[in-house]
Amino acid sequence: MRKQPVLPLLLLALGAMLAALLPACESGDLTLEEADPDAVPLHPTYEQVYAIVNRECTPCHTGEGEDDEGEYALAPKSRVVAEDDAPLETCTDIVAQRLDILEQIDDDTMPPGAWPRLTSEQKLLIRRWIDDGAPAPCN
C-alpha cells in the first residue's frame, strides 16, 4: 500500500467541508432594490429583456417555426410547458406574455425542474421594463 499523504488529505477534507458548510452561512436580508436601487437601469430597453428571455426561456419555449416539417429538426418539438403555452421567440410573443413571464420568474417556478433560476438582477430588470410600459419595437 502506498504511503498516505496526511497534509493533502487534511486540506481536501477541509475543502469538502467548506464546500458543504459555506452554503449554511446567512446570506443578505435585503431585496436588490433595497440594497442597490440602481442595480439595474430604471428604464430597461427591450434589447436587455430580449437577451435574458432568449437565453433563459426561448431554448424550451420554441414555436412552430418555418421548419415545422422538421427539415432540420432531429427531435420533436415537445415542450416542458403546457400545450396551450405560446412560444417566446418574437417581440410580440414576449410583450404579450410579459405578465406570465414575470409571475413565473418571480415565484421561481420557471425555469422548471432543476435548471438554475433567474438572478435577482434579471428579475428586477424585467419587472422594471414591464412597469415602464414594456417599450418594444412591436409595442
Binding site: 458543504a20 440594497a35 437601469p41
Partner: protein, 473 residues
C-alpha cells in the same frame, strides 16, 4: 451502510430502463483516477526507462488528454487510449492490469482487447526505440507524421495501434438529451467537430466548431442568432520540455474544475459556461506541467457581458481585458489547485469582476485497492460590479463523489450551491444530483441524473431527470 444501500438503490432505480449515459470528456474525475495505474494512459510500462523530468509526458493535467491544454473538446492520443482501454465496459485497447477483475458482472474477465497472459503489450522503452513502432499503426482516424523529430511528442507504440502524433485528426462530441420534468423534452444538446492540424513538431492549429441544440432540433442552430461558432480556434506551440505550451486565439480561460455540465454554477456564474459563445475570450495562454505542478496563465480580451460576440470573428472583442491564473499540484492520488480570474470592462459592458477559487480532487483508490471512489470539490468567491457601479460579492461551491462500481459503470452524487449576490436575501439555491454514467463501448456514454433544486421560495423547488447519450470520438 444503510445510507449507502439507499443511495445505490435510488440511483439504480433512476437508471433502470434507460441506461442513461455519459460524459467522455476527460473530466476532472477521470484525471483524478488516472494516477492509480500508469497503464490507464498508455500500454503497460514494462521495461520503461524513466526519462528526466523535462522529457516526461506523464501528467494529470488537462493537456494530457485534450488538445486544448485548458481541457475539453478533442482528445490527444492519451485521451483516446484512455477512452478505449479504461473508460468502457468493453475495452478495445489493452485494459489496465489492475482492472482485469473489475468487469461488469456477467461480462467475464475477458474483453476484446486484453491479453490475460504474459503477452501484455508494451511499447518502446525510450525515444530512440519509438521509431521501430511505426509499423504498429492501425488507425483509420488520424493521418500523417509531422516533419522533424521531438523527444517531447507522444511516442509511437505507447498507445497500442493508435497513431501517436498525427498531422491531421478530426474529433467530435454529440449529445442528445431527454429532460423529464413537468413534461418530457427531447433535444439535441451539443454537436462539436474538432480539427487539429500538426504539420511540424511544436506547432498545431486547432479549431473546434460547435452548435447549440434546441428543443426544435439543430434547426435553430443555423439561424442568425444561433449559428454554429468557433468554440475554440488557436495556434499553439507545444511539445516543449516540461510540457510547456503557448497558444493564441479564441478559448475558454483555464479556471478551476472544468466540468462538462454547463449549467453548473461554478462555471455558469463566472461567465465560463462552456455552451455559450460569450464564455469565449480572445488572447494568449501559456502553461507548463513538469510532473506534477501545473500552471496555466492567460491574458485576454472579451466581449460585452450583455452582447454575444460574432460567432466566427474571433477578434470581435470590446474595450475590456482580463487575466486568469490556474495553478496547483496534481499528485497521483490527490490534487489541489487555486484559480483566479479578473475582468476589467466598462460598466455598460458588464463592469469589473474578480473571482478566486480553490479546488481539490482525492482518489483514495490510489492508496487502497477496493476503494474506487473519487472526491472533488471547489469553492469560489468573487466580487463584481452591478450596473450602478457598486460592488457586490458572490459565493459558489461544488462537491462531487464518484464511485466506479465496475469498469465503465460509475455512480455519482453531487451538489452545487450558489449565492449570486451576498447582500440580497433569498437569491441562493442548492442543487443535488444523483445518477451515474455507463460507457458500454468506446465512443458511447449514457448519463442519467436525478436533480433536485432547492430555492428560497418553496413553490420554486424543482426536480427533474435528465438522460443523455454522449457520442464521442
Amino acid at each position: 451502510m444503510q445510507l449507502t444501500r439507499t443511495f445505490v438503490a435510488l440511483t439504480l432505480a433512476a437508471l433502470s430502463g434507460l441506461f442513461a449515459a455519459a460524459t467522455a470528456f476527460a473530466l476532472p474525475q477521470y484525471a483524478g483516477r488516472e494516477g492509480r495505474a500508469c497503464d490507464n494512459c498508455h500500454v503497460s510500462p514494462n521495461h520503461w526507462e524513466n526519462p528526466k523530468t523535462a522529457d516526461r509526458k506523464c501528467s494529470l493535467s488537462c493537456q494530457t488528454c485534450h488538445v486544448d491544454p485548458a481541457g475539453g473538446g478533442m482528445r490527444t492520443v492519451t485521451g483516446r487510449f484512455y477512452g478505449r482501454a479504461t473508460l468502457p465496459m468493453i475495452a478495445t485497447s489493452p485494459r489496465p492490469t489492475a482492472d482485469w477483475d473489475r468487469n461488469f458482472p456477467g461480462l467475464g474477465r475477458r474483453d476484446r482487447a486484453t491479453s490475460y497472459n504474459d503477452k501484455i503489450p508494451h511499447g518502446p522503452s525510450a525515444f530512440e526505440a519509438a521509431r521501430a513502432y511505426n509499423d504498429s499503426i492501425r488507425d483509420a482516424w488520424a493521418w500523417g507524421t509531422p516533419a522533424g523529430e521531438s523527444r517531447h511528442a507522444p511516442f509511437q507504440g505507447r498507445y497500442g495501434d493508435l497513431r501517436a502524433d498525427p498531422v491531421l485528426r478530426f474529433g467530435f462530441d454529440a449529445r442528445f438529451a431527454t429532460l423529464i420534468s413537468e413534461g418530457t423534452l427531447m433535444f439535441p444538446m451539443q454537436f462539436d467537430v474538432g480539427t487539429a492540424f500538426h504539420p511540424v513538431h511544436h506547432m498545431t492549429l486547432y479549431a473546434n466548431v460547435g452548435a447549440r441544440g434546441r428543443v426544435s432540433g439543430y434547426s435553430d442552430a443555423i439561424d442568425d442568432s444561433h449559428t454554429p461558432y468557433f468554440r475554440e480556434v488557436f495556434l499553439m506551440t507545444h511539445e516543449w520540455p516540461y510540457q510547456a505550451y503557448v497558444k493564441a486565439g479564441r478559448f475558454v480561460p483555464s479556471y478551476g474544475l472544468r466540468l462538462d455540465d454547463h449549467t453548473n454554477r461554478i462555471r455558469r456564474d463566472f461567465e465560463l459556461d462552456g455552451a455559450l459563445v460569450d464564455a469565449r475570450v480572445t488572447g494568449v495562454e501559456a502553461g507548463f506541467a513538469p510532473n506534477y505542478p501545473f500552471v496555466n496563465a492567460s491574458y485576454f480580451k472579451s466581449s460585452s457581458k450583455y452582447e454575444e460576440p460574432d460567432p466566427w470573428d474571433i477578434f470581435d472583442v470590446d474595450e475590456s481585458w482580463g487575466m486568469a491564473l490556474n495553478a496547483g499540484y496534481r499528485e497521483l492520488g490527490w490534487s489541489a489547485g487555486a484559480s483566479a480570474i479578473t475582468r476589467r470592462r466598462p460598466l455598460d459592458e458588464g463592469g469589473d469582476s474578480d473571482t478566486y477559487g480553490v479546488y481539490g480532487v482525492l482518489n483514495p483508490w490510489y492508496y487502497r485497492r477496493g476503494l474506487p471512489i473519487t472526491l472533488q470539490c471547489e469553492v469560489d468567491y468573487g466580487s463584481f460590479q452591478r450596473a450602478s457601479g457598486n460592488d457586490a460579492n458572490r459565493l459558489v461551491t461544488y462537491a462531487e463523489l464518484d464511485w466506479l462500481l465496475w469498469n465503465g459503470f460509475n455512480l455519482l452524487a453531487a451538489f452545487d450551491f450558489s449565492d449570486p449576490d451576498r447582500e440580497v436575501a433569498n437569491d441562493h439555491s442548492t442543487r443535488y444530483q444523483f445518477g451515474g454514467q455507463v460507457t458500454p463501448y468506446p465512443g458511447f456514454t449514457f448519463d442519467g441524473r436525478v436533480r433536485a433544486l432547492d430555492v428560497a421560495t418553496p413553490e420554486g423547488d424543482g426536480v427533474d431527470l435528465i438522460l443523455q447519450l454522449h457520442v464521442w470520438f
